[in-house]
């Protein structure tokens, strides 16, 4: 509910106690409320809400700015300020809790460089970054990207390891990146850190990860159609026979 709307009773639902029926259980309506300013407009929202929950509670139908809603997809990068604090804070709307007086805006899109490249023609060393993302060498090591990361990753460190051509370390440090782009939007050197991380991971997976001998063996068996007979036998079995086979099988 928009702040300043003339009905205090409606505006602050903290006085209303009740139950909301969802699934098998009845749930209590939240009790404590805070004020947040969504793009400058004030709304009373539950104190325990995530930013995304608060935006929806206020009555917005999100189009851009919501994806997996569990912290994996990076669709909901948000910037906010807090009362009496000059800093710009960053977070994912789906996993960051509101605070009283929070002044926030979601970023609907992060403009970013994603050049088309041919992974088959790249080498798993520094030349790949020189070719695809040469701007990383403008890094001034200010650490702003790391401070902006909602996953608490060492973003600057992985840009530094990329500059040194250490693919494995870059892969490892950027592994949990959700590509929200908050690092890129804060970077004074205009680096697109999350895309650099994706390239490092792909180069590692494709070129540097040790090959599994077992997988090679299995692929050969598949090529030789080793399991054809067994497949045919099981397909030909009656429901009862297949069921017996299943419940009698041993387990590792």
């Amino acid at each position: 509910m928009l702040m300043g709307a003339n009905s205090v009773k409606v505006m602050d639902k903290s006085k209303e106690k009740g139950k909301k029926k969802i699934g098998d259980t009845a749930r209590n309506v939240p009790e404590e409320m805070v004020t947040v300013y969504i793009m400058g407009k004030g709304y009373r929202v539950p104190a325990e809400a995530t930013i995304m929950g608060a935006i929806e509670y206020a009555g917005y139908q999100i189009k851009r700015g919501a994806g997996c809603r569990e912290g994996f997809c990076g669709a909901c990068g948000t910037v906010y300020k807090l009362p009496g604090d000059y800093k710009i804070h960053t977070g994912l709307a789906c996993t960051t809790l509101v605070q009283d007086g929070m002044l926030l805006a979601q970023l609907p899109f992060i403009p970013n460089e994603k050049p088309a490249y041919d992974i088959d023609s790249l080498l798993p060393d520094v030349t790949a970054f020189q070719k695809v993302y040469p701007e990383i060498f403008r890094c001034v090591a200010c650490n702003t990207c790391t401070k902006a990361c909602p996953q608490d990753l060492q973003v600057m460190d992985y840009i530094q390891t990329a500059m040194r051509g250490d693919i494995e370390k870059t892969m490892d440090l950027s592994f949990d990146c959700v590509s929200c782009g908050l690092c890129a939007i804060r970077c004074p050197a205009e680096i697109v850190q999350f895309n650099v991380g994706i390239l490092a991971k792909r180069l590692y997976g494709k070129y540097l990860a040790p090959e599994s001998p077992e997988l090679g063996q299995r692929l050969k068996e598949m090529k030789d159609k080793k399991y054809n007979t067994e497949y045919m036998e099981m397909k030909g079995m009656s429901y009862e026979d297949l069921k017996t086979l299943y419940y009698d099988r041993d387990s590792e």
Binding site: E48, Q61, Y227
Partner: protein
């Protein structure tokens, strides 16, 4: 932080931990797995699908007269967003070989393979490319790659997990292609977890008789999805991606072939016509319909759009009477209620416990059985833990994992889970998680064969939107595999098909026919589908939204 009143129960969990650790180390099952009869009983008594109002008869379309999930029947008995007469089909806005609907894992895999075969694609996606359940899978992908395992054993596990309702030829395709999918993804750059001897790390999942779960820490879906979408973006000349532009109806031709779709720009609210020689639907599932009021693990756009548009065009659905509830959704804290707690936790030795800290079920039963056992423990035996907001849950003992696998294992293998809970002051290396079943997967879908073909020529389906692969219950790790196997197959077979097909005059007559059928059955409704986006607008706000005319969730 857990509230104080849960402390007594948490202490009991701690007290029983050493004994349970010894049990787990013994190598024997920590709890006796259920027999076929026990499984049937717990399902009948406690699975939400078996509740009286869970299903109803659908009154129109190819499955007319069948009992299906009630919310799905409501969605299917709905009206189109468009009026066919408003569209000039003689001059399509786009022309392409293949229209791929859905920008998740299945759609991207399909587009990449179709491209390799020389076909051009347009990818129509409702949100951003990669905004899909594919992005969110944590635990892993099944593939029989270890020496002790075999594809046929994978087949048997999947058939048993699906209660033998699966279509055998689809399960064969799924399990037979799996090792090649592992290799294909690795060559694209997916970083699989490996052991020190370079073999692929494999873990157990519910219903697996061999360790078969491959993973990328607990960001498996995120790593695979970002690899696929990065590669899609490397080919803008061959794969055109249209984001925030869902397909809201299929276009047919005069000969009954599927021939493209009507696309809707969510932002400018314009509609566009796409003429395509073949169409691949990879729109995923329907978790955001919140069936039976359950929370869901699904992403924001999971509203079953593909089901609606294929059904109106005359494609048959199968197993639409069955919904998958994942046993371990978060139950506390409230902010993450319904979020997925990966099954890999149980694969690595995590145990479900009741309020007394006792094991009450084998931790790795197939998902429907495990979920039903959790519900029985809470609602039937009253041994669940109640949260401050009135939810129920059982403990999932994660600290045990560190005792079994070594210190640091959780941080290395479950960084996402650790992060999810530490935000709320719960350190899962020291304290268990509180979990309850959550709406997770659409077991059924549009009927396909092993080439992803439907009963409509030129219409292909891949991934969660299809039906038959998993019968009435999917096993963990088989959906990541599913969208890869069938995404690739759809791309391959559609690309072959477009080489020879001739598209006739375009038509939207099937929309009229469907509306006529609704009228004939006396169904008067203002429901519009595809749903596109769920609404979480609270009652107080809805009361003030007094615009006179609404179109679904978009005004």
């Amino acid at each position: 932080m857990y509230p104080d009143y849960m402390r007594e129960s948490l202490n009991k969990v701690e007290q029983s931990r050493n004994e349970r650790l010894e049990l787990a180390k013994s190598g024997k099952p920590v709890f006796t797995p259920m027999t076929a009869e026990e499984r049937e009983n717990v399902l009948k008594e406690f699975h939400p699908d078996y509740k009286e109002d869970a299903r109803r008869k659908i009154r129109v379309g190819p499955n007319k007269g069948e009992m299906i999930t009630a919310e799905v029947a409501d969605m299917l008995e709905s009206r189109s967003r468009i009026k066919p007469e408003n569209f000039d089909l003689t001059h399509p806005d786009f022309n392409t070989d293949i229209l791929v609907i859905g920008g998740g894992g299945g759609g991207c895999a399909a587009a990449l393979v179709a491209m390799e075969q020389g076909a051009k694609c347009i990818v129509s996606t409702k949100l951003r490319i990669g905004d899909a359940n594919s992005m969110m899978s944590q635990g892993g992908m099944q593939a029989a790659v270890s020496r002790t395992d075999s594809p046929t054993r994978h087949y048997l596990d999947a058939m048993g997990g699906g209660h033998f309702d699966n279509k055998p030829e689809l399960v064969r395709a799924l399990t037979e292609d799996a090792p090649d999918v592992v290799k294909w993804l690795e060559e694209l750059g997916v970083v699989w977890d490996k052991n020190e001897d370079n073999s692929l790390q494999v873990l157990h999942g519910g219903g697996t008789s061999r360790k078969r779960m491959l993973s990328c820490r607990d960001y498996t879906g995120a790593i695979i999805m970002r690899t696929l979408m990065d590669e899609v973006r490397n080919h803008p000349d061959k794969i055109e991606v249209l984001e925030f532009t869902p397909t809201v109806e299929l276009i047919m031709d005069e000969n009954g072939n599927c021939a493209g779709g009507i696309l809707y720009n969510l932002e400018t609210e314009e509609y566009f016509t796409v003429r395509a020689k073949a169409t691949i639907i990879a729109t995923g599932g329907y978790g955001r319909l919140h069936i039976k009021g359950f929370d869901t693990t699904n992403h924001y756009g999971a509203t079953g759009d593909g089901l609606v548009i294929t059904y109106r065009a005359g494609a048959k659905l199968s197993y639409m009477d069955s919904v998958q509830y994942h046993p371990t959704g978060a139950s506390f804290p409230e902010q993450i209620a319904g979020f997925l707690i990966t099954e890999k936790i149980r694969g690595a030795g995590g145990q479900p416990l009741n309020i007394k800290g006792e094991l009450f079920v084998f931790p790795r039963e197939p998902r429907d059985v495990e979920s039903s056992a959790f519900i029985r423990e809470c609602l039937g035996r009253k041994k669940g833990i109640k949260t401050p907001s009135g939810r129920f849950g059982v403990w999932l003992d994660s600290p045990l994992i560190e005792m079994l696998q070594g210190e640091g294992y959780i941080n290395k293998q479950f960084p996402a889970m650790h992060r999810q809970f530490i935000r709320y002051g719960i350190d899962i290396t020291r304290e268990p998680m509180l979990v309850y079943p959550t709406l997770h997967y659409q077991n059924g879908g549009t009927d396909i064969n092993e080439k992803c073909e439907t009963n409509i020529p030129g219409l292909y389906i891949a991934g969660e939107s299809s039906g038959g692969v998993h019968g009435r219950n999917r096993l963990m790790g088989n959906s990541v595999l599913d969208y890869n196997v069938f995404g690739r197959r759809a791309g391959k077979f559609a690309a072959e098909y477009v080489k020879s097909v001739k598209i006739g005059k375009l038509s939207l007559e099937h929309i009229h026919d469907y509306e006529k059928e609704l009228a004939k059955e006396g169904i008067e409704t203002d429901r519009i589908a595809p749903v596109l986006l769920p609404s979480y607008t609270p009652e107080a706000v809805l009361k003030r939204q007094l615009t006179a005319h609404y179109e679904g969730t978009l005004r």
